[in-house]
Symmetry: D3
Subunit: 336 residues, 6 copies
């Protein structure tokens, strides 16, 4: 039986004011459905993996529309369950130049997902064909229920020999400081096979000290220690140099076997900032799942991330061929 | 000092799939802000009244946009307060022919309005220039907090000699049956000067019996009794005969001085069903506030209601002149 | 050399609120360019005639866009001249059901057309290949300049043996009563070969009395007299029975050789009311120019008018084949 | 293993001029992907069936987009294959009132589907879990290749004991008269378990004579004979009475066990004419697959067909609950 | 009583071709209402000031829509009067890269505003609660009537002790050279408390000589003289260095107490060029009204101007908090 | 009689996903009609030339819409013929930053144009008023029929003393290598008066050797030889330096009288890449037809090319005045 990649996470409805307008200046909103899990699986589906999302959607018209959208991304939905009434939503006002983008959330805590519990999910059938389950730090933060659920599902999957991937994604606004988050993250990291994190996570969440002051040196000194302490074979992350709201430099790193490999730093032109990080993460997972070399993996992940930032929407939908063409620099003018 | 008409009520964000599409078939939603209070005040502003809304909006970008929209309708917002994070939302999928429209709600209970309490509102400054405050039965239903708040504000306004208008608007889905609603409605009715209700409200909410079986006879037998029992000088309502999803007949009635006056039954062509009832209610309020005769009042209200159904959006925005032209049948072809 | 049909008249920019919205409810307007002359020539071009418009457009970007639009309708523009700065505009808010459509004009009097004079136009080259020039009563009304211009061009064309077509199109709002209009119309009618008018024009503009009270009898008694008095070989017009804003009955009549022929009365479903009359007029002109029988002409004209009302935009763009198919009832379901 | 419903057929790209405009009047087209197979499976998926489409899509961006769209309808795509370069397209100009809709096709014959051959499809894995395969008469007509392919796949499926459903859908424009079509249809009918046809098919395609002149009597006299001659247990179809372009009456019939059952005649309000017939067919298939009684089946099918006509797009997406609510008349006003 | 900021000026309807298209390439236009007065008051309302516009709008649907739009910006309209028929309009075709934006005006001179006279405005009630009235040089230019009106209102306000703010905004195309403008501007400057101007205005309008050749030196040598000569306590302006159509450098200066303070030069990324200057002016007014230090005022004004250029539409709608965040560089990535 | 510029070539329907979206992310496509011939004639019409297109369009609604669009560009269509059923189409997904644009073609070979033959075109009437006929290398490639047709029309025109312009436009994907193309191009070049080519064409198509390695030197060494060998008085082309997908440097060159003149290298900001080259070519043709000096011609052509890249759509529509203003650097801010 062909194995599947699963992700556990919230689906949100994204509503966006068009053409860089502010909410007062428009009578229409563009919308789609996304979330870390959706984004990562969307990319992996487009790279040829068999995927399925573990989440709970409201049993109403919005839930139906979310499911249709997720399916259109190539993601399987047999592991989606339905119930409750609400979905988390956010309204995006796109920034321009020096004006930053703004995200305004609606109530997430009462959503079908945030109110869901272990018994809602059919873990047994999921574990039967899962090769890996991806989790995100936001699920640890958004409610007590989802925190426990995340840890519980990860633990059970780990016991079944399924790989655990985890994106730290520490959001200050969702926690009462590092103190609250620290023990939770530590428990999660102990279960990880692949972890997405950066030097700040090591310093503040895990309280690992370093005497280095330069960013890349900090990464080199801290993350191999994390890898050893928490027995995480693969750690990856990015260094972003912000030039303006729509221009950055992106550099990826990959920690494996006590070594840190960096990609070259590449210019990033941003069409859609949200979900860009998931483009990188899914590139790493693709490399790991397909047994690419560390160098090929980090290169692929950076290319995947760059294309994700230059594509509309949260969820990456570039094809495997698109990433490979980009890596081969085959193209810069029109592809006919 | 010129007196104002106030309304107390929830503001909701309406999101609508365009062109009769279902949610899965579109990537854009049209949106606006509405609510019973907004709708009634919008119409009254267009009829020349000085109005202001009593509500609580979230202190964020959505609250800002709601306030801008409400102001654009001609409604004053000095009595609007800000705080909390959420606004109630609903998604409308417009029906066609035999296919009914569908409304899907997001979480209202956690909204800034539904979580607001008496101390949030600056009632003293409101009572200084209020001639009338309009309330709606939905505020009695949607949460315990708003129920108490509604009754409390109505009571305080009444004590200050301000007229109370109330639209029963009994929504079965928001109550656990008539038993729960009955004592609440009774308290509210005791405070009313103008009440919008129908024969079902008298029969089931107030348990007033009748031997009549025909609709108009029931109205004639029941509502004068309600008027006397609860000391409500003015009661009004409509009789709708549904022909299809976009065609109905509309007949209004007005109970004053122990008499029931009916309008003629008029054909209704429906562009936008939601808020249609508020078009009628604001016509009655206009007549009452301007001292029109009972007959002129009911005619104006029916015309106001008919135009509200044939206008896009929840909130009526026909001008006083539009209603008068319609009443005078001056026009059926293009107005140049 | 192939002869052309010309029309002399104003081009206006039409701006329309979409989806039955009122101006306050939208941030976008659909636009196009039209006018009686444009509409009649558009239809005739689609029926296979060689056409060209006589007008003056502003020498700026709006004039450029108007010319491009007119060309896209198949109308020739060698007889269009450029100069001045403005174009007349109107904003259309589409009505629904009992709510009438509303047209709000911008300043027309200062437009390039309304400020144009005889020397602007290259009449000699126009008269060389003209078979017919069409005029409209609005040009007689909108400014003193265009009034004189209309009469002068018609007179000169007549002298050259070119047929004159004239649509009375009496607009009460543009005249100070029939007294002002009467002598002007009389001068124009004396130049006509084909005239579009109705019984009201005969009664009030021309002060021809009748003892008949029924509409069709009035037409039969009045218009042959007009034909004789003013030596107009062909007079045509329509009788509209208004059922609702989007439903009417349409019946055409044609006066030739002292006889009045009526079409059958046909149901009209209105998608776009404006320009509907020009659809009928161009059908008559098509019949006259192609030497159709009176009966075929009136039938074609009514079909042309019905399709014009059911087509978006002021300017008819149904093909000759579309009209013939409609006349032959070949179709009511999907044409594949 | 849960059985699937398959359909074999072409996927087309539908491009539609918005707001009843003609192609010259717009710069944008709405688009989606559809086809008889897509439509029938879309409805069945929404009624709870497990479905998968058998087709060949171009191996390019349009093929990707088609697959994403089909997945969003809830249809499985493991049986879709990719190759070739083209997809059939059609442009729809929506009619209004007396003006008929027009469909203009692009080249279909060179499409990936019409150029596909038996070896392209993985029939073995399809036959493993198929309960039924649906075919359409258009596949018999559109090219020699698809004609042979249709018959061959049906034959092989039949041999494996899989049910064959077939919609005659005789399109005069795709055949050189009945003579060409007759032998092909006869071969196909011999393989059918469920067939959609009407009295014309029996009379002209199958040359079965009748002395009846009235429509329902013809159906009663002809179709039981077809059922017996070709050993087709279930035959169904509709009778349409055209009132106007957007209003019809719809009556369904079902032939089983030598009996003909009619539904009541129901009014149809048409939002989107195309794909309406597939709404009926999928209702019959749902009834057959779920073992409903003949009466329940025909009622469900008519309801399914009515909702399909009142829903945007070719492919029906009403839920099972929507159809049941409609059958129970639970609703005509807004569903909240 | 809380004091208000007033502005006197024309309201125009802005019509814009979407997506960088030229007028021939689109069938829709985005629209809004703006004007110097509207823009300045919009910004001030968003910064927490109580504002009201002094203008005359047409008494028709366009006037209604303009009023609704202005209210939605948070601007009061009790000082707006209605009458006449027209509003000035302009069509914007947005430039791209080396292609400049183009503005085409419709007739402004016949507009309700340009035809208005002193008796139209209720100055007494305005002067009762005005702290400041803002004027713009365009009102001096656009017609003889508005020129006299501007001077007259400014003079009367000055007599009442109300502060006068004036933006020179010299538009060459609206004057027959500096000779015509000079005496008018001189009269206006004598009434000013706050004036927006640059070195060109001093040199050419006021004919003050300088030996300096470098821009900043000219400002330092000229504007303190203007301040002294015309007794204007506060003079402010900007220096723009154009890099490309969407990139400039912006530097502000403020002349107070015989001193000239410059801001640092900041990069400007332009989403919407029109109204950008009003963003700066309203920042200065905010500083002056709130008693900020000269340095804080000029910094705030530049930030306000930069955000105005990066926001859609003529009228700035950034909040006070947005400007402060920008000043504090708190943000460059997404604000959640 | 005024002479016309003709172009022979395919018209294609361009369908574009809006707002940088990929096909899966949108339900609407923007569309227009274009082609090398259309583009070159559009520019020339806007520069004041009399133009007409030689092509064959399908005799259906798409053909009608294409003709209307072409007319709106100012291009004459008396030399367009109708017949067949199809038009070539392409779908454009606009790239962003590092993500390249993608073009997906539908079937062109079966189009009305690609299936047309000599007898379809009325060459005699074309040759009567033609001053020049423009051809494109794509017509040589797309089908055997159009290859022969191109050469045949060019030969006949040449015989009549009409100038032949030819854009090499070698597209690798349309040929089986240079071997197939070489003899065809050689035949065509022998007929040319004006030819658009670059050093690669000389090297690979014509197999002219050079020892130069630097681009400009190659041009200087190769193209005068081509000019002499093939007796082509005028050869022109561009050198593009790609910086990113939306930024390039553009330098033009012109070979006349054995001399090569280069323009300065100018920055290019790309709004719409497709058709940009035709903007340059039409600038050269304008210079040649109007007898400009070589230097003025190349400068005009580069300006024309730069504006074409910064304008929406394939077909350049900048006016002569726009190009001249750009050349005079009169403007970089808003043109009012």
């Amino acid at each position: 039986m062909r194995k599947k990649v699963y992700a556990f996470g919230e689906v949100m409805m994204r509503l966006e004011a068009p053409n860089f307008k502010k909410l007062e200046q428009t009578h229409t909103l563009d919308f789609s459905f996304s979330g870390t899990g959706v984004n990562v699986l969307s990319a992996l589906s487009h790279y040829g993996h068999h995927t399925s999302l573990i989440t709970k959607l409201p049993a109403n018209r919005i839930g139906n529309a979310a499911a249709a959208f997720i399916r259109s991304l190539g993601i399987g939905i047999p592991s989606v369950v339905y119930g409750g009434n609400y979905i988390g939503m956010y309204i995006l006002e796109r920034g321009f130049g020096p004006r930053p983008s703004k995200v305004t959330y609606t109530n997430r805590v009462e959503s079908s997902f945030c109110q869901s519990s272990l018994k809602d999910y059919q873990l047994e059938s999921i574990f039967e064909d899962a090769s890996l389950v991806h989790f995100c730090g936001i699920s640890l933060a958004v409610s007590k229920r989802t925190r426990d659920l995340t840890l519980e599902i990860a633990r059970k999957a780990k016991e079944r020999g399924i790989k655990i991937s985890f994106d730290c994604n520490y959001r200050p606004s969702l926690w009462e400081g590092y103190e609250e988050a620290r023990p939770v993250y530590k428990k999660m990291l102990e279960l990880c096979d692949i972890c997405f994190m950066n030097e700040k996570d090591a310093l503040h969440l895990l309280e690992i000290p370093t005497t280095e002051t330069e960013l890349e040196r900090q990464i080199e000194s801290l993350l191999p220690i994390v890898s050893k302490l928490y027995k995480i074979p693969t750690i990856a992350g990015t260094i972003r140099t912000i030039i303006s709201t729509d221009k950055q430099l992106l550099k990826g790193f990959l920690v494996k076997n006590n070594e840190v490999i960096f990609s070259v730093s590449q210019p990033l032109q941003i069409l859609d900032r949200i979900g860009g990080g998931d483009g990188f993460a899914s590139g790493i997972l693709h490399g790991e799942l397909n047994g690419l070399s560390a160098q090929d993996t980090i290169n692929f992940a950076v290319a995947s991330g760059i294309l994700a930032h230059s594509t509309y929407g949260d969820s990456p939908i570039s094809s495997l061929q698109d990433v490979l063409s980009f890596l081969n620099q085959q193209n810069q003018d029109v592809e006919r």
